[in-house]
Symmetry: C2
Subunit: 262 residues, 2 copies
């Protein structure tokens, strides 16, 4: 099986990593739209266009499944269940909502997300469509992406900023928090320490990976092959990717597409 | 006189503000390439293409002068002195280098800039072309743009991060620091407090404004008119703009161009 994923930058690699754990024999193609990153502060109409273009590109490679490995892009494309070629499309929002409802006891769910995702109100709508009694509390966390990208996870400032984002959610007595951006699971340990063991953290990457598992019918002949396409030259992407995917061998083919790539 | 400026977001408005002080009767057109912001972490080849497209757009409006109101874009376009139509092009790097050399006593100059600008080495080259004895010390400050955009200027974390960026420069005994990104002058007060009065801070917006002054031949009939074009819908841009330009009247026409605007 050939799985195509896209995100604006490295964040979506956390989704790839989790899918690879569940489907180690799948072939992967990852598109990083680095020329237009980040997606988290772009307008819905713009994100919708970028998403459509990225899906068309993955479609052109004849992948078997497309995963929108970005919450901001997922939030404007929940209605896209299949591509123009009929390829099934998965997003990172639906499966994490189902998982949050499975985990919560008091039906009070917190969402930590980018501005774009928070403003879309997509998590509240999706969760309340599944369970109208659940209460959803959303918190914008716009500085977490730059802090992760600058490798500031263990710095004091990240602790201070995380605390300011998490306190309003914890005051609402949530027992489950969805890490609603692909970058956030990189701060899982720090968030977990601030929230304590009574709060369950949902990593949407793991949720979408589990929802893909039933699709795997037979091992691919090209098991484990991985291709990465980028829309901008990003010299540190490969390094980040190898680190995130915990890969010691050079299994990545870097193919800059140029900023006008469709 | 009709002055066209561009930047990826609101940052370049600090340049517009300074030029407006020097040339209050000029007409202004500002292009914010919000669909592809930020520029500070994009590759040179990509930035060069965005810059060329933005210049073409301003050329199509028949402006009299084009100002690249962004350091990252300026750093890849120092050779562009005029557009295809022959319109003179100014950048924010040249004038600030001249000003830094005018101000320094010990010829030790610090540059605070984005990754793209720092990596380009453009400040060192430009300053050393003017004075081979000057020593230039560069410091990347990648978190300042998101902190400014999130209005975190007065927060403790900004203080901590600023200190970590400025300390290496101060250790080099610089007596002049160029604020090499249009967002940074918004933190002028905080930076000044950390550096002390013995360090002169150079705001490139002011330097480029002063270099434009001699161009003003006659007052424009449409004095003070201002148009803003954006490549993405950015609901808070107008608010930011009014605040930055200290304008109490609605003098801005917001015209989203869509993400594929050329």
């Amino acid at each position: 099986m050939h799985i195509g994923l896209f995100d604006s930058g490295v964040g979506g690699l956390t989704v790839l990593r989790e899918i690879k754990k569940v489907l180690p024999q799948a072939q992967f193609t990852y598109l990083g739209d680095t020329a237009r990153l980040p997606y988290g502060n772009k307008a819905p109409v713009t994100l919708r266009q970028y998403t459509t273009e990225n899906i068309q590109f993955l479609d052109s490679l004849n992948v078997d499944v497309i995963v929108i490995a970005c919450h901001s892009a997922s939030s404007v494309a929940l209605d896209l269940n299949s591509s123009a070629q009929g390829t099934p499309i998965f997003n990172v929002i639906g499966p994490s909502c189902v998982e949050a409802l499975n985990q919560t006891h008091n039906k009070r769910i917190g969402i930590l997300a980018t501005k774009a995702t928070t403003k879309s109100g997509v998590y509240s709508r999706y969760i309340n469509d599944l369970d109208s009694k659940a209460q959803v509390f959303s918190q914008q966390a716009p500085l977490l992406v730059p802090l992760v990208e600058e490798d500031y996870g263990d710095e004091e400032v990240t602790q201070i900023i995380l605390k300011s984002y998490l306190t309003p959610l914890l005051r609402q007595d949530v027992d489950t928090i969805v890490l609603g951006c692909t970058h956030y699971p990189i701060l899982m340990h720090q968030i977990s320490q601030l929230c304590g063991s009574q709060v369950t953290l949902i990593d949407p990457a793991r949720s979408v990976a589990e929802s893909l598992a039933p699709l795997m019918k037979e091992p691919s002949q090209e098991a484990g092959e991985m291709n990465i396409y980028l829309t901008d030259h990003a010299p540190h992407f490969l390094e980040h990717a190898a680190q995130l995917l915990n890969s010691s061998r050079p299994l990545l083919a870097l193919k800059p597409l140029g900023p006008t790539a469709k």
